[in-house]
């Protein structure tokens, strides 16, 4: 049987298909301003990739922004639970998840069976999120995916005093005008982001193993800087860190479907 999870974020949308055992397919899409449109398109794409049709999906769970409005999802689950679920599936040793998405970052603690223990998130500002990195990349006229590898070449990181997305963009402009290299700027930005994540992690504590999910997990300089600041190793997951939320949603879909089936057969007896 096929189960689907769809995760609509502020910047990207992801869809995952699983069967009873394995991850079948996943798709990442740049989100449109309307979550329903994003969810619909990303689901169509992932189905097209596998040659499946929407009626082949036994159950679908949505998560993320506007998750309760997705018409083809039978159920919705918070992105916090989904990230916990997805990361635990990828590595059952994971106890702490730092999820850095387009507009938010959260730290999620899970227990030995993958259930949510505690979490904390930034709700006041977008400092230290994907949008923060996008702003920096835009100012440097590079693609956000180039920032990480670029930053690894930095030797003398620039000091980023304020982590406000707006201020940092201006700081970056100033550093460029002062003749600082893009490598040093990228490294300074990665370190500033790591300090910010560390502050968030400190609020709920950290238990090994630790992983980073969300788009920002693809920035290798941020991951390394975070390891250094935290003093903990960060595991790299065997799946794309950006699809963890959608995968969690698909796993919830499978669980919920099984539960409903069990209830149905019990009622039939």
């Amino acid at each position: 049987m096929i189960f689907a999870g769809v995760d609509v974020g502020s910047m990207t949308a992801e869809a995952v298909l699983i069967d009873d055992d394995e991850l079948l397919a996943s798709t990442v899409l740049v989100a449109t301003p309307d979550p329903v449109t994003s969810a619909t398109i990303v689901m169509e794409r992932v189905l097209a990739e596998t040659g499946l049709r929407s009626q082949d999906v036994a159950y679908c769970v949505s998560t993320g922004y506007g998750r309760e409005r997705i018409p083809f999802a039978q159920h919705d689950v918070s992105e916090i639970s989904c990230h916990g679920k997805g990361a635990f599936w990828a590595d059952p040793g994971i106890r702490t998840i730092i999820d850095v998405g387009g507009q938010d970052c959260k730290v999620i603690r899970i227990d030995s069976v993958g259930d949510l223990k505690d979490f904390v998130m930034n709700d006041k500002c977008a400092a230290g999120t994907g949008r923060f990195l996008e702003g920096v990349a835009k100012t440097m006229a590079v693609h956000v995916s180039e920032l990480g590898p670029m930053a690894l070449g930095g030797v003398d990181p620039v000091p980023i005093t304020s982590i406000c997305t707006v201020f940092t963009q201006f700081d970056v402009m100033t550093f460029l005008a002062d003749g600082r290299t893009r490598e040093d700027i990228g490294l300074g930005v990665a370190e500033a982001l790591a300090v910010r994540l560390n502050r968030l992690v400190k609020r709920v504590g950290v238990e090994d193993r630790l992983c980073i999910t969300g788009g920002v997990a693809k920035n290798v300089a941020v991951v390394r800087a975070t390891e250094k600041v935290l003093g903990h190793d960060i595991c790299s997951l065997r799946i794309d860190p950006q699809i963890v939320g959608a995968l969690g949603a698909a796993l919830f879909a499978r669980e919920r479907h099984a539960k409903l089936e069990a209830e149905r057969s019990k009622a039939a007896c």
Binding site: S10, P33, K124, A127, T129, S162, T165, F167, F170, A177
Partner: protein, 256 residues
């Protein structure tokens, strides 16, 4: 002639004073480079005002670029520049509110123009000019047209939080939900009004209050802040964005 330059994060403002009176004004983009901005100022003064470097006895720089210009110059902190200019404009002034591109500053000054206390947004860009620029870019309107556009609002929408990034996506959602540009514009201006007023209330401000900075051109904002504070606000001179540059130039006479 004294040249006062306020090299801001977005625009460099230049004012030439002769006997404490403004004889020339100029605005050039800063583009994160203080020296280049100064070159543009000198070029503009020469071309548009026939003022040469030799005509200028002294140059005083303030604002973001204060310590970033390599050519020899005098410099003044932005706070003392704001204080000095405000009392030049209105001798009874005891408090200044400056609404800049990246900074919102509020200061109380004594009768001699000395800064007694101040507050500034140092961690977050909420409520400053750049914040509005980002919002209005999403709405595809100009900051300078926003007050008029907001005047046509017929419904009250409340935006919450403070982060520019979150606001921007809220604005995009509102646009997609079919909300009118006027109503969204009014909601944004109201949010900035609240943010600025909150900063003002962190400090005791005695009358008279002078308001300067580029956003002081926005009547909707100034009236809104004034209303929320329950106090009159006097917009600096005719061109409030020149407040820092005027103050910098005035410092030369004060030093003599």
């Amino acid at each position: 002639m004294i040249l006062g330059c306020d090299i801001g994060s977005s625009v460099t403002k230049a004012v030439v004073l002769e006997d404490r009176a403004v004889v020339a004004t100029l605005r050039v983009p800063t583009e994160a480079h203080a020296d280049k901005a100064m070159d543009r100022v000198m070029e503009g003064l020469r071309e548009r005002h026939k003022i040469d470097r030799a005509d200028i006895e002294e140059t005083v720089i303030t604002g973001w670029g204060e310590s970033r210009v390599s050519r020899p110059h005098a410099s003044q902190s932005i706070l003392s520049s704001l204080a000095r200019a405000s009392q030049w404009d209105r001798p009874a002034c005891r408090a200044v509110l400056c609404l800049g591109a990246q900074n919102t500053a509020v200061l109380s000054i004594n009768d001699k123009g000395r800064v007694m206390e101040y507050r500034m947004n140092d961690k977050c860009a909420s409520g400053c000019g750049k914040f509005l620029e980002i919002m209005f870019e999403a709405l595809a309107i100009g900051v300078e047209d926003s007050a008029e556009i907001a005047g046509a609002a017929d419904k009250r929408i409340t935006l919450s939080g403070q982060c520019a990034v979150f606001y921007e996506s809220d604005v995009v959602s509102l646009i997609n939900a079919g909300e009118s540009v006027a109503n969204i514009t009014e909601a944004i201006l109201e949010a900035v009004t609240k943010t600025v007023t909150t900063l003002c209330k962190k400090m005791k401000m005695h009358d008279a209050i002078v308001v300067g900075g580029g956003l002081a051109n926005n009547r909707r904002l100034v009236d809104g802040i004034s209303g929320m504070l329950g106090r009159p606000l006097h917009v600096f001179g005719g061109e409030p964005d020149l407040i820092g540059a005027v103050g910098a130039a005035l410092s030369v006479e004060a030093a003599r």
